[in-house]
């Protein structure tokens, strides 16, 4: 995806055990911050059925 020009911060992966609620909250905050930083997704998006 990165090669194709999608900002790497659009995809996040994490491992959180069901006991690590604090890690869960930190990851949510971190992901939200990062996505806010790179702005809305205006490339990889299909809003109307464009034809050509």
């Amino acid at each position: 995806m990165e090669l194709m020009g999608v900002e790497p911060d659009r995809l996040h992966f994490s491992w959180i055990s069901s006991a690590e609620s604090t890690k869960f909250v930190n990851v949510v905050k971190e992901v939200t911050e990062k996505v806010k930083a790179i702005g809305p997704n205006n490339h990889f998006i299909k809003d109307t059925a464009k034809v050509a």
Binding site: L3, M4, F13, W15, V27, F44, A49, K50
Partner: protein, 315 residues
Amino acid sequence: MLGYTEKIKEIAGRLLKECTVDMVIGFRKGTMPMMNEPCFATTPEAVDTLWWDSNCGINLANYLTNRKEKVAVIAKGCDSRNIVTHIIENKIKRDQVYIVGVPCTGMIDKRKITGMVKGEIIAVSETEDTIKIKTADAETLFDKTEVLQQNCALCIHRNPVIFDEMVADAVQEQTDVDRYADIQKIETMGTEEKWQFFDDLLSPCIRCYACRNACPLCYCPTCFVDEAKPQWMGKGQDPLDVRTFHFLRAYHCAGRCTDCGACERACPVGINMRLLTRKLEMDCQEQFGWEAGLSLDQRPAMDVYQANDPEAFIK
């Protein structure tokens, strides 16, 4: 690769006479210069039409999918690796296919030559390492290494990895080859630039699926493009649908693609979609140390989990 045609005819004739196989899959001379047509030979006259030169770029492993009868196939290095993948993925049984290995010195890029020459190409003649192109008003001689298909120029598996018989002795493998220079160059571009690059690369696509159908790896009865429950991807010319199709098709070939170049050769509008498949080939190499189709007893990297799979991307 000049003497191969005679050797192929001799082997094919013998195999058919001895009934080791029911048919031989190979190439016959095309009706246009620099084009050859895959064919199957079952009778002595058909064997006589068999032909081999530097224009046999189509991957014959594609014709083995789900075959029931005993078959002989003429296989270049990349074709043989695809046959290995076919056997692993139960598309054909090992004892059902008699592999006639061809040590390959690279196939010509027809589109490249047409671009370098003025006017229509009327005739082509080939020597061991040069090729002569005859057009209406001129005759130009090219050194083969100049006009090879990109994947053949970068090829590091010219000799078949699996075969029952070889047409000639093995050729020298290329070693000092950087297979991923162009990919790394793209990776250094900025995000916006990369997006534009692929927009421009894929813009001529007319969704004819020649790349998918020329590829031996694509044998699914229903391709994800034709999925209808739900139809999550458009069938039209929307650049995003075109991009999604090429992205996911390349993803499905990750760890399986042998870079035979058949997709690029089949594409009517000449898109270099191998940038996507080779990026995934590079990743498989770096992360799993895996190269497609080299051994019969190991499934491709993306099919199995190992404890030591890299997981740095998981936070």
